[in-house]
C-alpha cells in the first residue's frame, strides 16, 4: 500500500530529493500499522499476578516454589527456573511489590490459568488477580480523554429509509405478492384479474429463501453471510445482518427485533466486519435490533439441542407487544427474557418441571378508551367483559406419574402467578391454540385411557372473557389432521380421520378406501348467558356441523373469519372447498318453506344450515394455500418442492371463483405481503361496514373502467396481430407470384 500523500500540504519550495524533508509530509501510519510487531504474540505465555504476599529477598524462592506447586495441582505448568518468575523488588524497602510476572510453559497453560485461577485463593488473606501481560500494556494505553470518533469511528451519515408502508397507499387497496422462482424474486401486485403486475424483479435476490416481516414492512432475503432486509417504495436494501451460515430467521411481532439461527457456531471475531464480541463465540442464535442493525444479544444452544440437532423454531416466542420473549430450557424451566434489555426476567428462569409446550396469549385491549376519546362515551359497554392479564402464558406439563396428571395452566407475568389451571389424566402431549384475540384458549391434549392401550384426543377449551375462565372438554376419538380457530370469531374447525395411514397424507390409502376418509368439523363456543332474575344458562362447546368423506387435509380460515377453505394438499389432488360458516349471519336461522302437497299449500319453517358450501374446485397438485391479509382472495400454489411441473399460482375470490392462473417455472415460494393491523377504531370500522354499499359503488365503477380499458388494449393487440399476419401472408404470396413469373419467363 502506498503511503497517503497529501500533495496540497507539501510546500512548493521543498526539495523532493531530500528524503528527510519529504518524510515530514508523508503519513507512513498505515505502513507502520501493517508491519507493527504485535506484542501480544510475543508475550502470550506471561501473566501478571496481583495479590501476591509481600515478601523479602530471602523468602522469594520459597514463595515461587509454593505458587508453582499450587498451580501444578490445578494442572497449570510454570516454566522452569530461572525464567518462570520475575518479581520486581522495591529497592527502598527490600521487599516485593505484591505482584509477580509468571511465565507459563505454553500459551495454553497461560489461558487455562487465566480461566480457572482467576480469584485464586492463595491463602486466607491473599487472592490472586491474573492479567495478561499484553493486556496491562493495552489498558494502560487507553487515553484518559474519551474520544468517541476515535473509539467508534465516524458516525455513519443519516440515510433516509423512505416510507416503509408505501404499498398501503395503493389506490385500489391491492395487496402484494412476493414470488421466488428459479433464481429470481419478484414482488408484484395481486390484481383481481389478468394476472399479477410485476413491480420489482431481481435475479439472485436471495440465496436461500425469502420472508416477509409480520407487518409487511420488510422483505428478508437469506444469504450465506447473513440476512438482508428490503423495503420502501423502491424495495431498497435497508439493513444487513452478518451471521455466517444463517438458516432460520424470525421477526418479533412488531418488527423491532430479528432472531437469526445458524447451525455454524459463531467464530471468534477477528475483524470489524464480524459485529459480535468474543463472548458470542460458539453461539448459534443472535437477536438483532432491526432499526440499528446492532446485536442485542447472542444465545448458545443447550447441549441437548446441539447433540440432537433438533432446534425448535422459532426458538423464542414473543409476547404480544414484544416486551418479553421466552423459551423452554430442557423441559424443566421456562426462560423469560425482557426486551430490549435482553436480560432474564428477575435474573432467573421459572422452574416448571416437565414443561413441554407453552404459548403467549394474544392480548387485545378493549377499545373503550379509544372510543371514549372519539366522543363515543355512550357506547361504553355496560357489562364490561372479563379480561385476562395481558402477559399470560399458557403451558402444558404432561402426566409424570400415576398420581400426577397432566397440567394445563395459565400464568401471568411478570408476577409468575398461575391464576388458572386444570388437571387432565393421562395427558401425554398437547398443542396450545389461542384464538386470535385471546378470547378463547384450546389445549389439544393427546391422551390414553387408564390401561394405556387406547389413545384419543381431548380438546380443553377455556373461555377467557368470562368470570373464572370456565373450561369445557370435548373428546375426539379420531386422529386430528388439522385444527384452526376462526380469527375474531368463536368457532373452530378441525379435520379428523379414523384411518391412521391417511393421516400421513398417503394418496393410495385414501384412494383405496373411499374418495376420502377425512371428516371436517366446525364447532362453536358459546358464552354463558346471564338472564335477569333467572338462572345462568351455562355456555359450552357445540358441534355446528360435521361433514364426512372429504379428501382434505388442511384448513385455512379467512383472516377476517366467517369463511374457511378446506384443502387437500399435495397427494390429495388439490381439492379446494370454500365454505361460509355463517350463512345466516344477522338473520334468523330458520326459513319459511312453502311446499305444495296434494294441491294444498303447506307452509313450514325449516332450519337453515349456517354452514354452506360456496364452491368446490381444485388446483391440481397444490401444496400451499394462503389468504391475502384482507380476506378477499385465496391463493393456492404448486411449488417445485411438491411437484416438478405445472408450477404456478391460482387466485380465487371468497366465493371460490377462479380469477386467474399464473404459471411460474420452478416456483419456490409465493407469499402475500402481510398488512399491519388497522388504525381505525372499532366503531369507525363498523361505520365503514355499514356504508359498504356506498364504497363498493366507487370500486365497481373503477373495476368496470379498468376492464373496459383492458379489453380495448386487448382488441388493439388482436388487430395488430391480424394485420401483421396479413402482411406476412401477402409478402409470401407476392414472392410466390414473382417466382412464378420468373419461371414463366424462363419457360418462354
Amino acid at each position: 500500500m502506498a503511503p497517503a500523500l497529501n500533495i496540497d500540504a507539501i510546500p512548493l519550495d521543498i526539495d523532493l530529493t531530500d528524503d528527510a524533508a519529504l518524510d515530514e509530509f508523508l503519513d507512513f501510519g498505515d505502513i507502520e500499522e501493517q508491519y507493527a510487531v504485535h506484542v501480544a504474540d510475543q508475550f502470550d505465555t506471561i501473566l501478571v499476578i496481583d495479590g501476591v504476599p509481600v515478601v523479602d529477598e530471602g523468602k522469594k524462592e520459597k514463595l515461587f516454589t509454593v505458587i508453582r506447586k499450587q498451580f501444578g495441582k490445578e494442572g497449570v505448568h510454570v516454566k522452569d527456573q530461572p525464567h518462570g518468575f520475575m518479581m520486581p523488588m522495591d529497592a527502598a524497602t527490600g521487599k516485593s511489590k505484591g505482584f509477580v510476572f509468571v511465565d507459563f510453559a505454553t500459551p495454553a497453560d497461560a489461558d487455562k490459568a487465566l480461566k480457572h485461577l482467576q480469584y485464586f485463593k492463595f491463602d486466607k488473606s491473599h487472592t490472586f488477580f491474573l492479567n495478561k501481560f499484553a493486556d496491562v500494556e493495552k489498558y494502560a494505553a487507553v487515553p484518559d480523554q474519551w474520544d468517541e470518533e476515535r473509539a467508534l469511528g465516524k458516525a455513519p451519515e443519516y440515510v433516509e429509509r423512505g416510507f416503509l408502508r408505501d404499498w398501503l397507499l395503493d389506490a385500489g387497496a391491492r395487496d402484494q405478492i412476493a414470488v421466488f422462482n428459479k433464481t429470481a424474486v419478484s414482488v408484484m401486485w395481486g390484481n383481481k384479474a389478468n394476472g399479477p403486475d410485476v413491480i420489482h424483479e431481481r435475479e439472485n435476490w436471495t440465496e436461500g429463501y425469502i420472508a416477509w416481516s409480520p407487518r409487511g414492512s420488510y422483505l428478508a432475503s437469506v444469504h450465506r453471510m447473513g440476512i438482508a432486509l428490503w423495503g420502501g417504495a423502491a424495495m431498497d436494501r435497508l439493513m444487513r445482518f452478518h451471521h455466517p451460515g444463517v438458516r432460520f430467521l424470525d421477526f418479533s411481532p412488531k418488527e423491532s427485533y430479528l432472531v437469526t439461527f445458524s447451525p455454524e457456531p459463531l467464530p471468534m471475531p477477528t475483524n470489524p466486519a464480524q459485529p459480535w464480541g468474543p463472548e458470542s463465540a460458539g453461539h448459534h442464535v443472535i437477536i438483532w435490533d432491526i432499526r440499528t442493525g446492532h446485536i442485542l444479544r447472542s444465545f448458545a444452544l443447550t447441549a441437548e439441542e446441539i447433540a440432537t440437532k433438533n432446534v425448535p423454531w422459532p426458538l423464542f416466542k414473543w409476547s404480544f407487544d414484544e416486551a418479553y420473549f421466552a423459551r423452554i430450557v430442557g423441559n424443566a424451566k421456562l426462560a423469560v427474557y425482557e426486551a430490549p434489555g435482553m436480560g432474564l426476567l428477575d435474573k432467573k428462569s421459572i422452574p416448571i418441571p416437565g414443561i413441554t409446550e407453552f404459548e403467549w396469549m394474544p392480548y387485545t385491549p378493549d377499545e373503550d378508551e379509544a372510543a371514549a376519546k372519539d366522543g363515543g362515551k355512550k357506547k361504553q359497554q355496560q357489562n364490561k367483559r372479563v379480561q385476562a392479564p395481558p402477559y399470560t402464558i399458557a403451558y402444558f406439563v404432561p402426566q409424570t406419574g400415576p398420581d400426577q396428571p397432566a397440567q394445563l395452566a395459565l400464568m401471568s407475568l411478570p408476577n409468575k402467578q398461575v391464576y388458572r389451571s386444570k388437571q387432565v389424566f393421562f395427558g401425554l402431549s398437547a398443542k396450545i391454540h389461542f384464538q386470535s384475540q385471546g378470547d378463547y384458549l384450546l389445549f389439544k391434549v393427546d391422551r390414553t385411557n387408564r390401561s394405556g392401550k387406547a389413545s384419543f384426543v381431548s380438546l380443553e377449551v377455556f373461555r377467557l372473557r368470562e368470570k373464572d375462565y370456565p373450561a369445557d372438554s370435548v373428546e375426539v376419538k379420531e386422529i386430528m389432521v388439522a385444527f384452526g380457530w376462526e380469527p375474531h370469531g368463536n368457532r373452530f374447525a378441525m379435520i379428523t380421520t379414523s384411518d391412521v395411514v391417511s393421516a400421513d397424507l398417503d394418496l393410495k390409502a385414501v384412494l383405496a378406501g373411499a374418495p376420502g376418509k377425512m371428516t371436517t368439523h366446525i364447532y362453536q363456543v358459546e358464552a354463558a348467558v346471564e338472564k335477569k332474575g333467572a338462572s345462568v344458562v351455562p355456555g359450552g362447546v357445540k358441534l355446528v356441523k360435521a361433514m364426512d368423506r372429504k379428501a382434505v387435509n388442511a384448513l385455512y380460515w379467512s383472516p377476517k373469519g366467517r369463511y374457511i377453505v378446506f384443502a387437500g394438499l399435495r397427494n390429495l389432488q388439490g381439492v379446494l372447498e370454500f365454505y361460509d360458516v355463517d350463512a345466516t349471519a344477522g338473520e334468523a336461522n330458520t326459513a319459511t318453506v312453502t311446499t305444495s302437497v296434494n294441491g294444498k299449500t303447506v307452509t313450514s319453517t325449516k332450519e337453515v344450515d349456517p354452514v354452506q358450501l360456496l364452491a368446490a374446485t381444485e388446483h391440481h397438485g397444490s401444496s400451499d394455500v394462503a389468504w391475502d391479509p384482507t380476506g378477499r382472495y385465496v391463493m393456492s400454489s404448486v411449488t417445485m418442492w411438491a411437484k416438478g411441473m405445472d408450477n404456478g399460482v391460482m387466485l380465487f375470490d371468497v366465493r371460490g371463483t377462479m380469477l386467474y392462473k399464473h404459471s411460474r417455472e420452478q416456483l419456490k415460494q409465493a407469499l402475500w405481503r402481510p398488512r399491519p393491523p388497522t388504525l381505525l377504531p372499532k366503531h369507525k370500522q363498523a361505520k365503514v361496514r355499514k356504508n359498504i354499499k356506498q364504497y363498493a359503488r366507487d370500486f365497481e365503477i373503477e373495476d368496470a373502467t379498468a376492464s373496459s380499458a383492458l379489453s380495448a388494449a386487448e382488441l388493439e393487440e388482436r388487430r395488430r396481430l391480424f394485420d401483421a399476419w396479413i402482411q406476412f401472408r401477402s409478402r409470401a404470396l407476392l414472392a410466390i407470384e414473382a417466382e412464378d413469373e420468373i419461371v414463366t419467363v424462363l419457360d418462354n
Partner: protein, 328 residues
C-alpha cells in the same frame, strides 16, 4: 366430436399422415408396422409389410400411387400404394429418421441417424416411374455439418430446398442439389420433434421438447410462438381455419409414474394468429407422438405412445366457432 379409436399398432406410434386427397390415413409405429386406414371410417385397409425395425417416418406421393417409409432397420423402402408391394429398398449405414417425396415425386429425401458410428447423412435419391430405372447411386449425399447433427426431422421446402430440425433445437435450410447450407438458426432450446409445412409451403411449424411450437417463415424468422407446459411432440397447421394443433405430453420415460391428468396427454388447439389456446382434446393415456390434419381440415388424427390412433372428425360447431370476428 366422438373419436374413432384405431387399433392396429402394438407399440407407440411414430407418425400419422393423410394423403393429398384425404381419403386415406397412414400410420407408422415402433412395432415396425406401416398401416393404411380409411380416414372416413377408421377401417384398417392394409399394411406395408417388410420392415424389421421401428418405422420412424413415412410419406405418400401426391397422386397416392406410391408410399415411402424409413426404418431403424437401416433401410428406406418404396411401396406400391395400392398393392402394398415393396418396389425398391435403399439400404443405409444407420437407421433412417426421415423420408419425404418432392411434390412431383421425382426425388426423395432419406435422412439417416447418427448411430452405430455413422454420421447423420441426407441422401437424395431419384424416383422413376419404372422401378428398374432407379439408379443405384444416389443423386447427392451430404452431411449436415457436425454441430447440427443429428437431424431429427427433415422435409422438402420449395425449389429443392430441405428444412431440417435438429436435436439441439436448431432449424436449418439446405440446397438439396449442392448440399450447401443456406441458413440455420437456433430456434428451440430442446429437441425439434416435428416440422410440418403449411398448405401452400410458405411457412411451417416446428415443435419441440422445450414445450413450445413455433411458426417460421422460409427465412427462419419466428412468426408465432405457442407456449405450453409439456413437451410438444408434434404440431400441424389447419388448412381452413386459422388454427394449429399441438400434440404432446409428459415424457414417455416418466409416464408410468403419472396419471393421464397430470401427464396432459392432450391435443391442444391454438389460434394461429392470436397464439391463444382455445381448446383441448383429451383421450390418450400416453403422450401424443404425432398429429396430422386432414387436407380439407375436416378431421385430425393423433397417434399416442400407448399405441392407439384417435381419428377425430370435427363437429359443425368447430367450423362455426370464431375466437375473433375476423376468423374465417
Amino acid at each position: 366430436m366422438r373419436p374413432i379409436v384405431c387399433q392396429g399398432h402394438t407399440r407407440p406410434l411414430t407418425r400419422v399422415r393423410y394423403n393429398r386427397d384425404g381419403d386415406l390415413m397412414f400410420s407408422a409405429g415402433k412395432d415396425a408396422k406401416f398401416n393404411v386406414w380409411s380416414s372416413a371410417t377408421g377401417e384398417l385397409i392394409g399394411s406395408y409389410d417388410g420392415h424389421t425395425g421401428v418405422v420412424w417416418d413415412i410419406d405418400v406421393d401426391a397422386n397416392t400411387t406410391r408410399t415411402m417409409s424409413g426404418s431403424a432397420d437401416s433401410s428406406a423402402r418404396l411401396w406400391d400404394a395400392r398393392s402394398g408391394k415393396c418396389l425398391y429398398t435403399w439400404t443405409t449405414a444407420s437407421p433412417v429418421r426421415s423420408v419425404a417425396f418432392t411434390p412431383e415425386a421425382d426425388l426423395a429425401l432419406i435422412v439417416t441417424d447418427k448411430k452405430m458410428g455413422q454420421p447423420c447423412t441426407a441422401i437424395i435419391v431419384e424416383i422413376k416411374d419404372n422401378v428398374a430405372d432407379i439408379p443405384e447411386a444416389p443423386l447427392n449425399i451430404f452431411l449436415p455439418e457436425p454441430e447440427l447433427t443429428p437431424a431429427t426431422i427433415a422435409r422438402w421446402g420449395p425449389e429443392h430446398t430441405i428444412y431440417m430440425g435438429h436435436e439441439n433445437g436448431t432449424v436449418s435450410c439446405w440446397d438439396a442439389m449442392s448440399g450447401e447450407r443456406i441458413a440455420s438458426k437456433k430456434i428451440h432450446s430442446g429437441v425439434v420433434t416435428d416440422l410440418q409445412f403449411s398448405e401452400d409451403g410458405t411457412y411451417f411449424i416446428t415443435s419441440s421438447k422445450d414445450m413450445s411450437a413455433k411458426i417460421l417463415d422460409l427465412k427462419l424468422h419466428v412468426i408465432k410462438n405457442f407456449q405450453t407446459e409439456r413437451p410438444v411432440n408434434s404440431a400441424c397447421i389447419c388448412p381452413v381455419k386459422e388454427h394449429v394443433i399441438l400434440g404432446g405430453g409428459q415424457d414417455a420415460s416418466q409416464v408410468t409414474t403419472t396419471t393421464a391428468k397430470v401427464g396432459k396427454f392432450e391435443s391442444r388447439f391454438y389460434h394461429k394468429i392470436l397464439q391463444q389456446e382455445f381448446g383441448r382434446v383429451r383421450g390418450h393415456f400416453g403422450p401424443i407422438n404425432t398429429v396430422a390434419v386432414h387436407p380439407d381440415g375436416t378431421s385430425f388424427t393423433s397417434g399416442g405412445e400407448e399405441g392407439l390412433i384417435r381419428l377425430h372428425h370435427f363437429d359443425p360447431d368447430y367450423f362455426r366457432f370464431k375466437l375473433d370476428p375476423r376468423d374465417p
